[in-house]
Amino acid sequence: MRVGRDGVIGLIVTALSLGLLVQSLSLPQLPLTPIGPGFYPRIVLGLLALAGVVLFIQDVMANRAESSTDGEVQSPPGFWRVPLLFGIVAAYIFLLPILGYRLATILFVLALMPAIEWPTTIRAWATVIAISVATSLVSHLAFERYLLVLLPRGSLTGW
């Protein structure tokens, strides 16, 4: 029996659904309503667990070694950038309440632009710096001054 990517996902969906289904059994019953807060989740989670099993069976039945069309896709050439970009976004979100919107945004754009396309000339680096500063300051001005949306202040910097 060969289990492909979809089969593994099916098993994960089933396991998570059953885990939450068990959790839903401990939800209290409300005195005034015939059904409690766990009634509806149990229906959805039961069906979700079943769908996970169906996906697993479909995957096994499809014999993935032969049908490659829906199966293991090759990673695109720029796949390596994706975890890097998610890392930069996570760092930005971590730094936002510490450094504040303006500073964190400058650093974020400064890190993200070269991660997507590495600047090779001094002019390209100057563009990166200019866009970083402009993105931060223009968006801050537009949202705080004109659209009355308050952006995060830094606990470390105070602005």
Binding site: D6, I35, V89, I93, T135
Partner: protein, 506 residues
């Protein structure tokens, strides 16, 4: 009705509303023209800007994005051979050959005017049909609502590309996300595991932004090293000047084509979460089937451009009908609009038109006025749009992500929304990579609470579960849902068998 519409048109023509509508339409045209930036992403970018506006200003801007974006994709489709949005894919088939054959102006303007006419006919449908449909929906009890929402989910899951099981799982994940936090009847904490972060549940807009924006941008970044489909040398040269009367004459001289493809667009728009990409392809297919010269399709025939563009703009009108009459978003764009309405404390659904008549008619008026604005923007700046459409991803992505973070933060002015954004950004990207459709997830997320509420209301009114089937409208809706699921299973099986017979056995 006409008086209300007239007043709404006069209201929208005030600078206070006309400016957001114009800027929204402009943003939509630009977003639509940039390959890799969908209308959904454009409206997500716009979203944080609408928080500081009054509801009609915000919704007018969003309607403008929707109309402008549906038309904007035709610029790059015709002049570069790359559809700016999925809703302009079929425009490429004839627009690009026509432009390459030395008629770029004719190709672009046939598309623009067809978009305008198709959209305006869609507007007529929107104005005339929304009220009566909402009146029908007002007769619904919790059984009917429950069955209607199940029908919407079944259709979306069944019509999803690829595996139907994945469509159903995606819908189930959406329903599951909506369950976290307090239950909607008794307020009992559910699946919170004692965490403060989970106690409020997952706010809808950050989930939506995370799922759509990240999956789109990360996929674009992944494909950055791939050779471009069209190089600069493939660009069409020549002027976009054209005799507008002649182009309009070309469209109007084909009234059946225009009307039929517009009806196809509207019908696809009314059905939940199918969207403009299906509308333009289906309309193109219909135009080819009804044409006395099907062999001319794909070689630069005007019929192909008219069909595709009239359908994708008419589709917008259809989508707006569904959200305004039933509170069910027709696609991701209307889902964001629904989220924006919630932020402003406006409840969508059958009571929306009667209780918020000014706002509802304001949306109609904004939708109608967005079309001449779109034509004006195209007339002034179509060539500039082409330049803007070639903006580098390294500039676009950081700006878009910063706006996404602002949008998620501004929902409650807390970092929780931003954390949710990141979590669901990863989830959305993982789902796209593993080929799970996103539309069912979003619909499940939006409808989850309403499904649960109506189920409980129905059972609290009468615990006889057979009522879901024996009440005629509810039973009819569930029957259609069942037929829809069976039909899509049958289609999937048939497709799999055909593939198995066609593919050589190595």
């Amino acid at each position: 009705m006409l008086e209300l519409l007239g007043n709404a048109l006069l209201t929208i023509m005030q600078w206070k509303y006309l400016l957001p509508l114009f800027l929204g339409t402009l943003m939509g045209v630009i977003g639509g023209a940039i390959p890799g930036v969908t209308i959904t992403l454009t409206i997500i970018i716009l979203l944080p800007f609408t928080f500081g506006l009054d509801p009609l200003q915000g919704l007018a801007a969003m309607t403008g994005v929707y109309v402008g974006g549906s038309a904007g994709g035709l610029i790059t489709a015709s002049l570069l051979g790359i559809p700016g949005t999925p809703s302009a894919i079929a425009t490429t088939f004839d627009g690009f050959p026509m432009a390459r054959a030395g008629e770029p102006g004719r190709a672009v303007w046939l598309g623009i005017w067809a978009s305008c006419f198709g959209g305006l006919i869609g507007g007529l449908f929107l104005v005339l049909v929304t009220g009566p449909l909402a009146a029908i929906a007002l007769q619904f009890g919790p059984w009917e609502y429950f069955s209607l929402f199940i029908l919407a989910l079944a259709m979306v899951a069944g019509l999803a590309e690829g595996s139907m099981t994945k469509g159903l799982i995606s819908a189930g994940i959406g329903l599951l996300i909506a369950m976290f936090g307090n239950d909607p009847v008794g307020g009992i904490p559910r699946f919170t595991f004692g965490s403060d972060f989970l106690s409020g549940g997952f706010p809808f807009l950050p989930v939506l932004i995370g799922i759509f924006a990240f999956s789109q941008i990360m996929t674009d970044v992944e494909n950055l090293s791939r050779p471009k489909a069209a190089r600069a040398s493939d660009q069409v040269k020549g002027s976009l000047r054209v005799s507008h009367l002649k182009v309009i004459g070309e469209i109007i001289s084909r009234p059946f084509l225009l009307l039929w493809t517009t009806i196809v667009g509207i019908a696809i728009g009314v059905l939940p979460a199918i969207g403009g990409s299906a509308a333009n392809m289906l309309a193109y297919d219909q135009a080819k089937k009804f044409s006395p010269h099907p062999e001319r399709f794909g070689k630069g025939t005007p019929e192909g451009i008219i069909a595709s563009e009239s359908a994708n703009n008419a589709n917008v009108g259809g989508s707006l009908v569904t959200i305004m009459a039933f509170g069910i978003p027709g696609d991701a764009v209307t889902a964001v609009m629904l989220g924006a309405m919630t932020i402003h404390g406006i409840q969508s659904g059958p009571l929306f038109v009667s209780q918020n008549a000014e706002l509802a008619y304001g949306i109609y008026a904004a939708y109608i006025l967005a079309h001449p604005l779109m034509v004006l923007i195209m007339a002034v700046a179509a060539v500039i749009m082409l330049r803007i459409s070639q903006v580098k991803l390294s500039i676009l992505a950081p700006v878009v992500l910063v706006l996404c973070v602002i949008g998620a933060y501004a929902v409650n002015n807390t970092m929780n929304g931003v954390y949710v954004l990141l979590i669901f950004g990863v989830v959305g990207y993982a789902l796209v990579r593993t080929r799970f459709p996103l539309a069912p997830l979003i619909l499940g997320l939006i409808l989850g609470e309403q499904i649960e509420l109506n189920l409980i209301r129905a059972i609290m009114t009468d615990d006889n579960l057979w009522l879901f089937i024996t009440r005629p409208i509810s039973g009819g809706l569930l029957l259609v849902a069942l037929v829809s699921v069976v039909l899509s299973i049958w289609q999937h099986v048939r497709h799999a068998r055909r593939t198995a017979t066609v593919e050589p056995d190595f």
